[in-house]
């Protein structure tokens, strides 16, 4: 897999905002089961936009995209009043203050991560622990647990999805701003 600058931007700047984005979607969208799909659609849109030009400020851009998608969907589905999406809260996305959640790093993030793993189904948890905490390769995990390698692989596939969902609220190390928040050049429109 060849990694592009957009991939890097997406992983380092967009994904850490998942907790905030999910919270926003929960407040704005009544159908909770549609939120994962909305989130993925928002990611797709911001990623595609970034292939043209990486946005200067990731957070406002992400939330603006979210808001626009919700308006589109609400118009089509006519389930949520458009006003609900457009109300004042939708406007605070333009704020440029540092994200408070970026302070929640290290210890707290680790605790949440542990909590996420502890809630996995037993076999999946054991695989994840051996693979990630103990650092064993999948083959050795299989041998230790007396299960087949393909079963381990299946459990990894299951575990990664559950962990990704559970870790929505975790923000890793502060983002060393490789992208965005760059000072505007003088004279730029």
């Amino acid at each position: 897999m060849n990694r592009s600058a957009v991939d890097l931007w997406f992983v380092e700047e967009v994904l850490p905002l998942e907790g905030a984005l999910t919270g926003y979607l929960r407040r704005k969208w009544r159908e909770a089961n549609e939120i994962p799909d909305l989130r993925q659609e928002i990611y797709t849109r911001v990623y595609e936009a970034a292939t043209v030009a990486i946005p200067e400020m990731t957070k406002p851009f992400l939330f603006m995209t979210a808001r626009n998608l919700l308006i589109d969907r609400a118009r089509r589905a006519q389930v949520v009043s458009i006003e609900a999406v457009l109300d004042s809260e939708g406007l605070d996305v333009a704020d440029t203050v540092p994200n408070p959640e970026q302070n929640a790093v290290g210890r707290e993030a680790l605790r949440l991560l542990q909590a996420a793993i502890s809630r996995l189904p037993p076999r999946c948890r054991e695989v994840t622990l051996l693979r990630k905490v103990h650092g064993l390769p999948q083959r050795d995990v299989a041998r230790r647990m007396g299960i087949s390698e393909s079963t381990v692989e299946q459990q990894v596939a299951k575990g990664v999805r559950l962990i990704a969902d559970a870790m929505a609220d975790i923000v890793p190390e502060p983002v060393t701003s490789r992208f965005g928040r760059r000072p505007r050049k003088v004279g730029q429109p």
Partner: protein, 328 residues
């Protein structure tokens, strides 16, 4: 619960496959083609990959004992090598059971609390000796996890049946958790048997408190005294008394014996089937299953029991090595 999302399922499979080892040329081509199908595929994969990589922080944290937040953790840091608190260690214990030392699983402060897993196979028994002097005898096909040290005494019964001989400690109650039900020891010898979400508690000595943690307002805790039993299910805990003999019979398995008094064959067969791979098959309907059985039998000698059904009751017994079919 994982949401149904075919793209995410595929992304997870690709990730798990590469987590197992590098892709071969065909695999690489397939993966690249899959990624190129749509931006949604790519962002979905990147998201899962980021989460999976982030879990590596746990490994780095193994070297950071300062993270241990509780006095328990601190004390354990002295007693055990640091890696042992973090990493699952698998050890073979005794001859009968496999004891797996894994971090305590269901509570939030894992992996700071230690824990031990004990399990038995079909027909096996095993006695676990805990740090606090208490003993747990595991009956056939049983699995439990014990987290017992000076601060907490907690056992989770995942499956099967066990007999507890608890060293009483006023300040640190011994707690058995099974699903949403909780049994708190009040100085005791008692057994707990789990079948799905149903629990049967028989108290031989002392008393226990049975609580429904999921419905604390609907179901008050029930105190089960000596020579009594309780059958507990979510939202329903029923108590009944037992004679000394009945309690002894209920605990016959500790000697490897099944004791029945006037029990229908259907139930007796189900009981034998817990201890043996070779299963007794009794028709679900009809009078055959209602035949009353009494006596004391060796739990793992199902063949002897089948012979008795033939010679004593004149029933037909068809043994194919895997199953013993009983008929008229």
């Amino acid at each position: 619960m994982i949401e149904h999302d075919p793209i995410e399922e595929q992304a997870a499979r690709w990730l798990a496959r590469q987590d197992a080892g590098p892709l071969d040329a065909a695999g690489k081509a397939g993966f690249d083609a899959w990624l190129a199908t749509s931006t949604r595929h790519r962002v979905t994969y990147l998201r899962l990959e980021a989460a999976w990589k982030r879990a590596d922080h746990l490994r780095a944290a193994r070297q950071a004992p300062a993270l241990a937040p509780s006095p328990t953790g601190a004390r354990m840091a002295v007693e055990r090598a640091p890696w042992r608190r973090w990493a699952p260690v698998i050890a073979i214990a005794a001859t009968v059971a496999l004891a797996v030392v894994l971090p305590q699983t269901d509570d939030w402060d894992w992996p700071f609390t230690g824990g031990q897993k004990f399990s038995t196979g079909v027909g096996d028994r095993y006695t676990a000796h805990l740090q606090d002097g208490s003993q747990i005898e595991l009956n056939t096909n049983t699995r439990l996890r014990a987290s017992v040290d000076q601060a907490t005494r907690e056992v989770r019964l995942d499956r099967g049946e066990a007999f507890f001989e608890v060293v009483h400690d006023e300040k640190h109650p011994f707690v058995v958790i099974s699903g949403d039900l909780r049994i708190v020891d009040v100085g005791t010898k008692f057994s707990v048997r789990r079948e799905g979400d149903k629990l049967e508690v028989v108290v031989a000595e002392g008393a226990v408190l049975v609580e429904d943690m999921a419905h604390p307002n609907d179901v008050p805790p029930v105190l089960v005294p000596q020579l009594a039993a309780a059958v507990a299910q979510p939202k329903a805990i029923r108590k009944s008394s037992r004679s000394e003999e009945q309690v002894r019979d209920a605990l016959g398995w500790r000697r490897g014996t099944l004791v029945f008094t006037d029990r229908p064959l259907r139930e007796v067969a189900a009981e034998f089937n817990r201890y043996n791979r070779k299963q007794l098959v009794v028709p679900a309907d009809g009078p055959l299953g209602d035949i009353r059985i009494g006596g004391s039998f060796e739990a793992t000698n199902v063949d002897a029991f089948a012979r008795l059904l033939h010679s004593g009751f004149g029933l037909k017994v068809n043994d194919d090595g895997r199953e013993i079919k009983i008929s008229n």
